[in-house]
Symmetry: C2
């Protein structure tokens, strides 16, 4: 593969630094090269330096002129529900009328409606819609996404979703990190005890055997899976070699953050209702919080998770879209930057760290992606602005100029 030389970036925002997630004031240290450039060979970065130095070594390289724009690592979106059928427009409209979650579910909406549509979809149709979603992510500057199953809730349908993810990973430039979320809800045709048995005794072994997921996640919440049930599922998942994530304390403070700490899960996600004790427990256990302000916005709520407090407590926070049809219909990490800065009072630098290098570590890929440093994959985005803070400042408009995955143009 030919070499590539990126030249004349107003800022190459490298996120270079220690080989671990960033905490505290490290989250503000983006390590920026002004009038910067980057040399790429065989899909990997070989050097990042001022543009004139790169130019000297670029004699055989194809040139990408950033033209005074900023260059960032591709965003790493560490929490999405990427594969589903249909949308939830009716739920959305009902919510504007003030209908509650329960009213919407009774009217045929909620997670269950997406499960029904997803079960009824063929592999080909699911893949077709997932490719549209993948294209959206790339257009927003994201190059890696974690993607959860969980709209199947039978062995065959969960396998179908995870296989669609594998195919998506092979057929598009977007890198997919698959997570098994069989414990997303108890399906209507069975009860909790029976379903948990299915998850533990059949789904996990099959998914582990086929290597269809890297992580296992559970929706630990009142009315979904309680602390004890979540502990059982995650403990078995770990025995099957899966790493752990958990939906914790989104709607109620049910002790999800503490369970994450007890199990030393890689991440605890949502955390809208987590208090100081939960924050301290996650800190002691080295759990990375994944904060999802998009769902707070889209549900019309105002209880954003305590991101500022978590940064100050020294947690290596991550921000993500929570892309899903019910509570967060956005694939846009720049939109999440806006919400993180305006509503959670992260600085633009902290928000970018949380959406790149920290997110990469939370997906067990901190050594390969999430920063622009020699040896890492050349996953990067060029945006139509001169200062990285503009990504969070101007909101609702596409600023993406172009996106590259492993040195190839991908969007």
């Amino acid at each position: 593969m030919k070499s590539l030389a990126v030249l004349h970036a107003s800022q190459v925002v490298t996120l270079g630094g220690p080989k671990r997630p960033r905490v505290g004031t490290e989250m503000c240290e983006l390590t920026i090269v002004r009038d910067g450039g980057m040399l790429i060979r065989d899909g990997k970065i070989t050097s990042v330096a001022p543009s004139d130095q790169i130019e000297k070594n670029a004699s055989n390289a194809e040139i990408v002129d950033a033209g005074g724009r900023i260059v960032l690592p591709g965003f790493v979106d560490a929490h999405t529900h990427l594969v589903f059928a249909g949308n939830r427009l009716d739920d959305f409209e009902r919510r504007t009328r003030g209908e509650s979650y329960e009213q919407i579910a009774r009217a045929g909406g909620g997670i269950w409606s997406t499960v029904q549509k997803t079960r009824a979809s063929s592999d080909a149709d699911l893949l077709k819609q997932a490719k549209i979603h993948a294209d959206w992510f790339l257009k927003c500057g994201t190059t890696t996404v974690e993607a959860k199953s969980g709209y199947g809730l039978t062995l065959e349908d969960e396998l179908k979703i995870l296989r669609v993810m594998r195919q998506l990973n092979e057929e598009t430039p977007l890198e997919i990190v698959p997570t098994f979320l069989g414990a997303h809800a108890v399906p209507r045709e069975t009860d909790a005890a029976e379903y948990i048995k299915l998850v533990i005794e059949e789904m996990l072994s099959r998914i582990a055997r086929e290597k269809l997921a890297e992580f296992c996640d559970v929706f630990c919440e009142r009315g979904y899976f309680d602390i004890e049930q979540s502990r059982r599922i995650l403990t078995v998942a770990r025995q099957f070699g899966l790493k752990l994530r958990i939906h914790a304390d989104q709607l109620t403070n049910s002790g999800g953050a503490q369970l994450a700490a007890e199990l030393k899960t890689t991440t605890a996600d949502h955390l809208e209702k987590t208090n100081g004790q939960g924050i301290a427990a996650m800190k002691s256990a080295g759990v990375q919080p994944v904060l999802l302000p998009g769902s707070v916005h889209a549900l019309g709520l105002s209880d954003f998770p305590r991101g500022r407090e978590m940064v100050e407590a020294g947690l290596a926070i991550v921000i993500a879209t929570d892309f899903n049809p019910g509570s967060s219909p956005t694939p846009s990490m720049p939109m999440i930057l806006s919400l993180a800065c305006t509503q959670m009072k992260l600085s633009p630098a902290e928000a970018i760290t949380a959406g790149t290098i920290n997110a990469a570590y939370s997906l067990n890929r901190g050594n390969k992606i999430g920063s622009l440093e020699p040896g890492k994959f050349a996953n990067f985005s060029i945006f139509n602005c001169e200062d990285y803070r503009e990504l969070a400042y101007w909101f609702g408009i596409p600023q993406t100029h172009s996106v590259y995955v492993r040195g190839r143009r991908a969007g």
Copy 2:
């Protein structure tokens, strides 16, 4: 000019209806033609009908195949501060650190910093930056914007800004409706009494004579212009033939809505702090509220104006971006639809009505734009979705496919 035939739209959302702003349940009646089309001649709409009927009369027309996408009137953005120099990234970053407006102003930020940069800019530089903004608006599906002066605050600088707007109107497809907002702040080099004298005795007559503005606006707020000062300025503006708008009750409930009612201004804008009495007063006087949820979001606040209550009180509400560098750096009406639906509990249909036909009436153009009906200008946007509700539902991503102004491709 050749004829144009738009065919195969999943929905032509016409906003057709009575020849006046829509109120109450009328705001939900979008008048949609499914599998719709539109015939256009000399930049004006001649018919809107099912696609097969349009096709029969389209023999000499250039075809625009909407390909199953939705077609809407171009958005009409009735409150922007489009012409300014620079940005306010430093203020934005300071705000994430929890600094107050006063602290930011002391550090050299706030309106005054934009006034200094705008005064220091040449006409050519201002126009260049304004053209970038105009392009953003078009890319978001907006075809008409109201634009306020107010970052000059001297006779010459206010004239400069208004002339840039005129040139922008001539040189880009975006239609600009100019508003004189000399009373945006009292400039530091003078005092309120002296500045108001300048506005009343020099600026207004000159601007009226040169026909540089259609409307006059005042920032009626504690620390800016009080009720008595606002009344004086607006009363004189009306004598010079200008129509009236007013920034009312944004930060405090200072009686701005009541003043709007007393003066029968065309609009009262912001209204975050307006109470039931203010709403009743505006209703009696026929004032159109212009609600600006983008600034509430960007300032990290949660006191969205009472849009739901205003709709139910029978007011012909408008929603707009408030595009400006300090408190609302977004040109995106789809983003405003998302905020209006999730935070102000407007239905998607109400929000679209508020951002098209009602906005057009608030700019004295209800007979020419804001809906897709025979005789109106062919200002329309095609979006990459099948259902109009998707515009408010998916957020943070560009869904614009293409934009037309008077029948010509503009974005």
